[in-house]
Assembly symmetry: none
Homo-oligomer: 200 residues x 4
Amino acid sequence: MVAEQVFSEMGYDSATVAEVARRAGVVEGNVYRYVKTKRELLAHVISEWYSRTNAELENELRHITSVRSRLRFLIAAHLRALRDSPGLMRLIIRELRTSDTEFRAIVGKLNQRYTWHLRHAIECGVESGEFGRDIPVRLVRDMIFGGIEHHATRYLMGEGSLDVESTADQILFLLLHGVQAPPGAGNARRSRKPGDKPLT
Amino acid sequence: MVAEQVFSEMGYDSATVAEVARRAGVVEGNVYRYVKTKRELLAHVISEWYSRTNAELENELRHITSVRSRLRFLIAAHLRALRDSPGLMRLIIRELRTSDTEFRAIVGKLNQRYTWHLRHAIECGVESGEFGRDIPVRLVRDMIFGGIEHHATRYLMGEGSLDVESTADQILFLLLHGVQAPPGAGNARRSRKPGDKPLT
Amino acid sequence: MVAEQVFSEMGYDSATVAEVARRAGVVEGNVYRYVKTKRELLAHVISEWYSRTNAELENELRHITSVRSRLRFLIAAHLRALRDSPGLMRLIIRELRTSDTEFRAIVGKLNQRYTWHLRHAIECGVESGEFGRDIPVRLVRDMIFGGIEHHATRYLMGEGSLDVESTADQILFLLLHGVQAPPGAGNARRSRKPGDKPLT
Amino acid sequence: MVAEQVFSEMGYDSATVAEVARRAGVVEGNVYRYVKTKRELLAHVISEWYSRTNAELENELRHITSVRSRLRFLIAAHLRALRDSPGLMRLIIRELRTSDTEFRAIVGKLNQRYTWHLRHAIECGVESGEFGRDIPVRLVRDMIFGGIEHHATRYLMGEGSLDVESTADQILFLLLHGVQAPPGAGNARRSRKPGDKPLT
DNA sequence: CATGAATGAGCATTCATTCAT
DNA sequence: GATGAATGAATGCTCATTCAT
């Protein structure tokens, strides 16, 4: 759809219905035969992406069994989406943070289904005993999605690059083990003790 | 400043210079004696928040020495900012993701300084040996900020509440230990083995 | 076109797009379906006049053969234009002296074609031997157009009248013979000789 | 005066009182202690130029006696003015063609005095018998000034150059003798006779 | 179904000018 | 006499949306 292009390139507010029509090769007023409003057009664009992506995700997840593989896959999939469709993803990230209730009513479900896979994988990890039983599942999910999107911010603005695989590895590692040094290992240098000078 | 209020309430695009002037009790054109453009007005508002907040942060950090306390403090501080100024924070989060280079040139430095504290605390943890030496520092920072902001999204939209303290505890815990169950403990139920049925 | 009227009456700067729309019986924004900018509207108005006038000129010139007749015709035609469309001509004279390169790019060609007829007639006169072979053709053209326009200035401001025929005769005469008294004739009174008292 | 600079550079409409004040190092509202309105400021600028130039002109004319020398001098003087102060002259030429009666009331006299010298010189030529007695004096004056200004138009727009001396010579020549070939001389090629083919 | 003309409400921005201090 | 803050009215331009044909 051309609307996807236009919104992706210029953002929702800067995009104009006229431009969408122009690129579609139709006349301006004709757009309103298909959608009732510009906002609805946006909802269509985003909904379509979610539908498409959810389908793909679910298809590929069928072949992935272990919790860890699923997490790794979902993390990488989200990173790939950001890398491959930066404009569209910037649009989604931006417009999903809107008060527009009518809009959220439309895409909210799809978004939930999209994030549900990750949440579900985490829950499975808890259930299976691989993960701590008191893990705040939603918060974990938020840290993954939020972390990925925060990390990709610069790339979404057109600066720098985005390495899907290594980032996915790092996120998965942090997710599983946290930042703390492995008990026996790392204290090569020395540990801080009370009474040390302030850090700055 | 009234501009802060207006932008916070209505968002940048929906806010009008006329409304800002009206609330300030002056005439529309008069706004342009102080700023050259609406965008510059936004930059002022955001800059001021960062300046103010950076000062506060740095002041309080002086009394906090341990890495863990610092992380906990910075996480809670960001959560508090979101809880106490949801409109403004939504504005900042949204507008910081703009291609507008001139704008980012102004607030970029302040934003970097704001996030630097967290990054620095993490680096100290690595240096002291508390954290693994190969920790991807920036990514950790992104997961914290991104996670917090993702978690607060619903609250920023006016739905639900935001529990600063418990969320900060949870994030800190996840950050330190990850999601994995403590070695001896949790596998009460059972672990998944290869060959198990798919999770969905 | 109503834009022609409005610009002619009030001048470009004082004219407003709103006024043009009002007189056209449409809404202001609608003007921008046909032109991209106010300046472009001006360009249209002037271009149209030049196109129309060039066509007329070229049509009538086909029946005029002698150099002298052509000059006389072109001089009178320009005077007639000034007399019959003073507002529009004042607009053209004024706006043609603008630095606006984009504007000149549009109407420049048409203006050149308009003045070319006069220049060409002069060149023919040179070629045929009727005019001195070292005549500075462009300067002659400038003196004709400039002279006519200077002469009409007061009329263009709404004061006095403009006699096309007699002015055309006089200009043609001056153009051909200059101001100098015919050799044998006029020195009835006396000629000044060196040593005479100053003139003022 | 700085107003002269500002008006010369940007033209009357584009110039702002604020800019004039800024360059003068005073505060905006302070300009209104000296002039009552922006238009009056313009009148001052132009008046001053005319006063200054009239004085210079009259001073130098005292030493020039012959009609021809005077004409040549005045033509060259006007060309020099255009060459040396293109911005200011463009301003004057443009703004003198304004309906603003109040404005013309102020500078009209000075302008008349400026052009009077040329007109007077021509009248002297008529009186002395050097020029034909039926010469339309004002029209001759218009052709000189108009011709010069038309010729300088491109230069005033910032394109090309302006050769004062040779242009003055050419104008003077045309003025005196017209374009017609000297009786005996030029018909080297041949003269056109009735019945010749059309010129184009 | 499609066209394209029209609408109307809005909005950022400019600027000459005034006036209390 | 100067300052600088304030005014107010205007203006070019945009755009989602409607509707007769």
